[in-house]
Symmetry: C2
Amino acid sequence: MSLDNQLEEALMKSKTQMRRGVLEMCVLSIISEEESYPSDIIEKLKEVELIVKEGTLYPLLSRLKKDGLLQYSWKESTQGPPRKYFQLTTTGIAFLQGLKENWDDLVSSVNQSTKKITK
Amino acid sequence: MSLDNQLEEALMKSKTQMRRGVLEMCVLSIISEEESYPSDIIEKLKEVELIVKEGTLYPLLSRLKKDGLLQYSWKESTQGPPRKYFQLTTTGIAFLQGLKENWDDLVSSVNQSTKKITK
DNA sequence: ATACAGTACCTTGCAACACATAGTACCGAA
DNA sequence: TTCGGTACTATGTGTTGCAAGGTACTGTAT
């Protein structure tokens, strides 16, 4: 493997690492706007170029549900099995607010640290 | 533990998660401006409110050195043991550039996803 | 020469989450 | 009954920030 390929691979891994903690914020944010089921969420993430597969999203939704941040209801579908529609709980709303503050603080630190103003 | 405390604790953990991949970018960025030794780096990170301890920084620097992104030279000090001064390698400079692009992409996605313009 | 405080550096194991893989189940159409 | 499409579930892996515990060097005081 050439150095360029090693660099590309390292940058791909870095991409994954940078999504930690951020993905859940985006997912909660999408659900906070309108109750959604997984396929919707995947589409909306795709629109903002956050490419996520089912194998990543389902465990994340499970964990958020287990942590009391989400709840869901089943709804029939005309095109296949019933779907799980997710909503934020009260705790989830508060947590999302905190996540956004965490994120804003981090972005501010990074901007100062790298001396770059985000356009 | 009250719910508020659980929320606080969860947000602290989230803070740690969000730093993944980002901390190394900031550290490389600081070193790219001027060769530094660990204590300098900790100070500069502190200035931008990225609080990092030695137990976090030394393993990170070790890993970056092992990955060929950093190199170092020893310099005497007038106030204690000799110090390791770090510089970026050519690969490190290229990698840092890629990290910043990764970061910019992520920030853009988050802004679109959370419908919030960073001021 | 020895002891000590301050400074610098090192190593290791843990926790947590993004991800990939493999799988099951339901529904409508053929 | 079979099949394609859709929806969901479970689990193990890899990676990095962090905490904890440690060693070593230097200058100062005794």
